[in-house]
């Protein structure tokens, strides 16, 4: 079977946005590197998201993209809740490592789903209304970087980056 070059483009896009060497500066995983639970938990003011919540939010939307690519049913995210989940439950190194692992798994799972798409099907609709598979995955990459830029700001504000 001929490999779809569009798949390689999309994998390049989501990988450089997440953890592969990127031209544009820190990607999402790079922005999280070296962040401690204390820094991740810190909020500039009450009610504002902290780095930890941005991490889980990014994991959640990778999961949603995976679900919309594969047609899996709702409700299978590893954590209870959706979109913005309050974090931390416990500001421990273990809890932080677990959520980093959650994000890594969400990326790997999404990546596997993209890799498994049949050649020539990227322009077919995803399970998201009005969104092709290609557009869905492109959007995930941009979303990672949107929040990577914010994590960099939060680190600077906290003095931990």
């Amino acid at each position: 079977m001929t490999r779809d070059p569009g798949l390689d483009q999309l994998l390049f896009l989501i990988d450089t946005a997440y953890d592969h060497a990127s031209w544009h500066g820190p990607n999402l995983r790079g922005a999280l590197r070296g962040v401690t639970p204390a820094v991740a938990s810190w909020r500039p003011r009450p009610g504002r998201h902290n780095i930890w919540e941005l991490l889980v939010h990014a994991a959640y939307w990778k999961y949603v993209a995976w679900r919309r690519l594969t047609g899996a049913k709702r409700g299978s995210f590893a954590l209870a809740g959706s979109n913005w989940l309050s974090r931390p439950v416990a500001a421990t190194a273990r809890a932080w490592a677990e959520d980093l692992a959650l994000l890594d798994r969400a990326h790997t799972t999404l990546r596997e789903a993209v890799s498994a798409l049949a050649p020539g099907t990227l322009d077919r609709p995803s399970a998201q209304k009005g969104v092709s598979r290609r557009a869905l995955v492109t959007g995930v990459a941009a979303h990672d970087l949107y929040h990577a830029g914010q994590i960099q700001l939060l680190k600077r504000l906290k003095g931990g980056g």
């Binding site: 003011r45 990459a141 941009a142 979303h143 960099q152």
Partner: protein
């Protein structure tokens, strides 16, 4: 949706996010430094628009880093009026959209250069979109910090996911950009 259409739609989404954030900020706040002494909205706007104008002027035929671009100057406070700032901002995006609009899918494997580094056009577009999304995230963050409780949410608000999921409207980038544009209140 083609490669070009999907990338253009994301560009429009992130421009709309930045537009909606900037519209919530007062004129006097635009040059204020961001959290922790980070770049002001004015600097982020000038940097991103300067980058786009340089990259996409004569996109197919000249290097993306133009000799006339003064990148360092983009990171200096310029004390521009809101209108001057937004004129430059819109010009950067106009140049981008004009270049992208002139591309076909067959062009994507052609080569352009950025700082003398050759790359395929699709790679150049992906890199540029990544750069734009990164800095728009920062523009939104700084604007949100300035507005605090008066901030008008640009995405799904906390606790609003269920209602969002049940809505019958399309959920693509173009629909998101249009929804954001409708929320902008022009500043006199």
């Amino acid at each position: 949706m083609s490669v070009i259409a999907s990338i253009e739609a994301e560009y429009r989404r992130y421009k709309a996010l930045a537009d909606a954030a900037i519209s919530q900020v007062g004129d006097e706040e635009l040059p204020e430094l961001g959290p922790g002494g980070s770049n002001s909205i004015e600097i982020l706007v000038r940097h991103l628009s300067g980058n786009l104008r340089s990259r996409f002027t004569d996109f197919r035929t000249s290097d993306g880093e133009k000799p006339w671009r003064n990148r360092d100057d983009e990171f200096e406070t310029a004390s521009l009026s809101r209108q001057q700032l937004l004129d430059g901002w819109d010009e950067g995006w106009r140049v981008l959209f004009e270049a992208v609009g002139g591309l076909t899918e067959a062009d994507l494997s052609a080569t352009v250069t950025v700082r003398n580094q050759p790359m395929r056009i699709d790679e150049a577009l992906h890199r540029s979109l990544a750069h734009a999304a990164y800095h728009v995230g920062q523009i939104v963050y700084v604007a949100k910090a300035m507005r605090s409780e008066a901030w008008k949410c640009l995405s799904i608000p906390r606790g609003g996911s269920q209602a969002h999921n049940q809505a019958a409207r399309p959920e693509n980038a173009a629909a998101h950009a249009a929804a954001l544009a409708s929320r902008i209140t022009p500043r006199s």
